[in-house]
Symmetry: C2
Subunit: 184 residues, 2 copies
């Protein structure tokens, strides 16, 4: 089981009329859902995606997607805008949930923490356990203070190289590298 | 320079009112543009993306994105829906162009062709030249007859593993593997 966790500095926390981009860069959240949860014609049943939204008006909010129960979804942004609006309005969708929780509280419950970072150890040299949790920043990156907490919780910095990829591309790359190890 | 080329069986070839998904799965085209052309806060200036649209009403159409001149863009689906509609309406956008051309004619002008395929040779064993062109199918895959043409043109089948990834994820993985080779 793999968990991908995105810190969204500005993601709106109540229903909105704007596009996902204008709603505090929720387009990044959508793109990460796409690459965390989908392969061609299939849902990654063993994956979870978590976004912690710190935008207006009522941060923090914890949006989570559970691949084991995710249902009735497509891969486009419009579909996910509707689903995000639905859960922000208090409605439910199979495999998608929303609750009032900060990222620190969530992190404290995890056993195997990784922080994607250019100056981490080469990801090829890491032996992952059964339930790795990968933390990613939005376009501004993770707040330093929170990165410090992750390190105190035993989090390891891992690197996929010098280039700075989109958060969604980083997830594609990590999924691929672990898929490859698992099929060896 | 890298070229990514997507065969879009149903992508609409004139302006539409629908979402990209409903316009013949143009959402796949958008997702491939995202992963072909963008890293964090930057455009991949050395990359090109080409989609060949075979949907109604006037196939084929060749939509191309040139990273070296691409300008005034964001990474979300809404932005790209507007740009695609603009060029389908005959207007221009920097780095984006549209012309009436079939994928066979385009392929015949290429020197270094790769076909992403589960039963190709392991991509790690391939030495890429200066200007590799990677062909990807939409959710249905490349038509067999066209794959045959690519092979006759010297195209090599390359594989990133057994799993069938989204076209956009495949592009992320190929970009990553070449980035990694280049930084060695």
């Amino acid at each position: 089981m793999r968990k991908f966790i995105l810190y969204s500095r500005e993601g709106y926390t109540s229903p909105f009329k704007e596009s996902l981009l204008k709603a505090g860069r929720l387009d990044t959240v959508y793109q990460c859902i796409l690459t965390s949860m989908f392969t061609s014609h299939a849902i990654r049943r063993e994956n979870e995606f978590h976004a912690f939204l710190y935008g207006r008006p009522s941060p923090p909010m914890h949006l989570s997607i559970d691949g084991s129960t995710l249902f009735d979804v497509r891969v486009d942004e419009d579909t996910w805008r509707s689903i995000i609006l639905k859960v922000l309005s208090g409605e439910t969708h199979p495999g998608v949930s929303l609750k009032k929780e900060g990222i620190e509280t969530y992190a404290e419950g995890l056993k195997e923490i990784y922080i994607l970072s250019e100056n981490g150890v080469n990801i090829d040299e890491v032996e992952f356990g059964d339930s790795p949790a990968f933390f990613l920043g939005d376009s501004v990156g993770l707040p330093k203070k929170f990165e410090g907490l992750l390190v105190r919780l035993g989090g390891k910095k891992v690197s996929i190289g010098r280039k700075r990829y989109l958060a969604a591309s980083t997830i594609d790359i990590v999924n691929y590298l672990i898929d490859r190890k698992e099929s060896d």
